[in-house]
Amino acid sequence: MSEKSWFTEFPAMERADLVSIRKTMDGAYREFSREYGDIIESLFDPLLSFLIWFEQLLLQSPWLLVLGCLTGLVYLASRSWKLSLSVVVAMSLIGYFGMWDNTMRTLSMITVCTMLAIVLGIPIGIAMARSDRVQKVVTPMLDIMQTMPAFVYLIPVVMLLGIGKIPGLIAVIIYAIPPVIRLTNLGIRLVDKEVLEAATAYGATSTQRLLGVQLPLAMPTIMAGINQTIMMALAMVVIASMIGVKGLGQPVLKSITNQYFTLGLLNGLAIVVLAIIFDRVSQAWANRTQKHLGETAHG
């Protein structure tokens, strides 16, 4: 009998063993989160207050002022009246359909997530570019972050920090940070060897090489990474709403459970509008500032 079952069924471990492993690990983690949860949570307090402050800033300011600032920023970055006008029209429509507040919440979340992803991601990318060993360690971690279903890493985060903005932020960053890290690494590694050699030959220190040569020349690639990061952060908005992040994601979640097609569509479209604005503006800015690099790349 045992031989037959070995042949037809995979020889799995005993059910009881598996349960005990699960129990031990879950217990240990629960113990850990009970012990250190508060301390870890308090570490994130400054970040939380910043998040709340920024969200309140966008919500409490008169909508005309916010729209004005937004359009001004878009124009400064892209120098295009057409794009700025489109932003005004799109944001007005969002407001008219009653999604202004949720859009502001999502906008603040995405902005903070992107800023954090850049602040964390670019130094990690630089470290990867400088050392093959770091690259060997970080690459599989990035693979895991990108392929592991978001729900799976939501569990420990929620166990540790409860539901709310901070766990949402962590989930979004875990999901969205890989592109900026990968492309910073790639961009720096692709910098023309001879240009870098020239800088070395003229006695540039490694900091001078990094800031004066490697980062500026890698910038188009890094910008592409940042762009991807923003897009992925927006894609996480709905999932983040499951753990209590307010914004455009929550109405979508509500629509799924209640089959409100129009509500879902409208909020979904608002997310798309935000994505398009971020994308076009960052692309236009990158193209404008890197015209000279572009010419050599194609020439």
Binding site: D192, E194, A198, A199, A201, Y202, G203, L217, Q290, H292
Partner: protein, 399 residues
């Protein structure tokens, strides 16, 4: 020798690979490049290089790709670390400098020009030229002033605010040259600096380099795979093959006395008429006549191996006199002065002239041409048969 060696390379070895030091013993035993690669997976870059570069000369390192010439030049400013050996620049051993000292050394002692220019694409031409100075921390107005001057020197005035991608290849390399000159470094490393340019622009750049060098007297180490370029620019040439030094010498030595078959194969295609100067082919000056009377001249002439002589009065070279004519004149008036009508006109040539330019002159007369330097002194004589021998020697080898 009175000339002082500025750079001295002693027993320089370079092995590429993870355990370079361990395989050195096998290299010292004389393992060849291919054997070493097969046995240990290590590539022999340079083997036992010894050379010295004099202050103020253009020293050309020449070889085909894979010969180790680019590896060698990168040892001078330690863009590549040697496996063994010493590099002395002005008495200090470059291989022993620590990180800070090395940065200072690169900033002030040597600058470099690259094959594909190595310009910073995101900076303007002016900022590129000033790059070396900005690395040194010089303030902006001062370094821009210097950079503007050097841009003007290389003939790119007005291009200051352009970006490298807006310039042609020749112009970009001028920017590279200006950048190298801008730091006032004594030594200029030029790594195949003109190889990426098309032939016409290349020869223009060579002219410009020679012109600049006449003014600046830098010590230039010039890498090339083009023998014509090496012969044109080099005061001395070293030829590398498979990481080993094959021959070192003045251009005409390389051309006329190739040390190995390899060098000989190299030089056989060179247009000697264009590469050699009169100086290298001429015979020693023997037939000089300076007496002012016919009798005196005849006396001098009889001691000469030939039956002609080049007549120098106190005003310098006048022309050629023939023994026959002197004897005729001496019969009637031995004490009379040597008159112009006995001197036949024959143009003198300069020792620096390239052979190609004096071929027509040699065709016009049956006598050897006098070689007279810029001080008006007779340096030698160039006989047609010697010229033909040198030129046809090249042709038979090429055939």
């Amino acid at each position: 020798m009175a000339e002082q060696a500025l750079i001295e390379v002693r027993n320089l070895y370079k092995v590429f690979g993870k355990k370079a030091r361990q395989v050195m013993s096998s290299v010292h035993k004389g393992t060849g490049k291919d054997e070493l690669l097969a046995e240990t997976g290590h590539t022999l870059g340079l083997r036992d290089i010894n050379l010295s570069v004099k202050r103020g000369e253009i020293f050309v390192v020449m070889g085909l790709s894979g010969s180790g010439k680019s590896t060698l030049i990168r040892h001078f400013n330690r863009l590549i670390e040697p496996t063994e050996g010493q590099i002395l620049v002005d008495g200090t051993d470059v291989t022993k400098l620590n990180k800070k000292e090395l940065e200072q050394f690169r900033r002030h002692k040597m600058s470099m020009v690259f094959q594909r220019f190595g310009l910073l694409p995101h900076k303007t031409v002016l900022d590129n030229v000033a790059y070396g100075l900005s690395v040194q921390g010089m303030d902006k107005s001062e370094r821009n002033r210097k950079a503007t001057e050097w841009l003007e020197t290389v003939g790119l005035k007005g291009y200051e605010s352009q970006y490298p991608s807006q310039l042609s290849g020749g112009q970009q390399q001028r920017v590279g040259l200006a950048r190298a000159l801008c730091t006032d470094a004594e030594i200029l490393l030029m790594d195949e600096a003109f190889s990426a340019l098309d032939p016409l622009i290349r020869s223009e750049m060579q002219d410009q380099l020679i012109e600049l060098q006449a003014k600046l007297h830098k010590t230039i180490i010039f890498i090339t795979h083009d023998l014509d370029e090496a012969l044109r620019l080099g005061d001395r040439i070293v030829i590398l093959k498979d990481g080993e030094l094959v021959q070192m010498g003045r251009p005409e030595e390389i051309l006329l006395q190739p040390a190995t078959d390899y060098v000989e194969a190299f030089v056989k295609d060179v247009n000697r008429a264009r590469a050699l100067t009169v100086e290298t082919v001429m015979q020693p000056p023997l037939n000089r006549i300076s007496a002012s009377t016919i009798g005196g001249a005849l006396e001098q002439m009889r001691k000469l191996p030939e039956n002609y002589g080049y007549y120098f009065s106190d005003k310098g070279y006048q022309g050629i006199v023939l023994q026959e004519a002197l004897e005729e004149a001496a019969k009637t008036n031995a004490d009379g002065s040597l008159k112009d009508d006995m001197v036949e006109e024959l143009d003198a040539i300069s020792p620096d002239a390239i052979l190609e330019s004096i071929i027509p002159d040699t065709m016009e007369t049956e006598y050897p041409l006098p070689v007279v330097d810029s001080d008006g002194e007779l340096q030698g004589e160039l006989c047609r048969s010697d010229l033909i021998e040198v030129l046809s020697d090249a042709n038979t080898q090429a055939a």
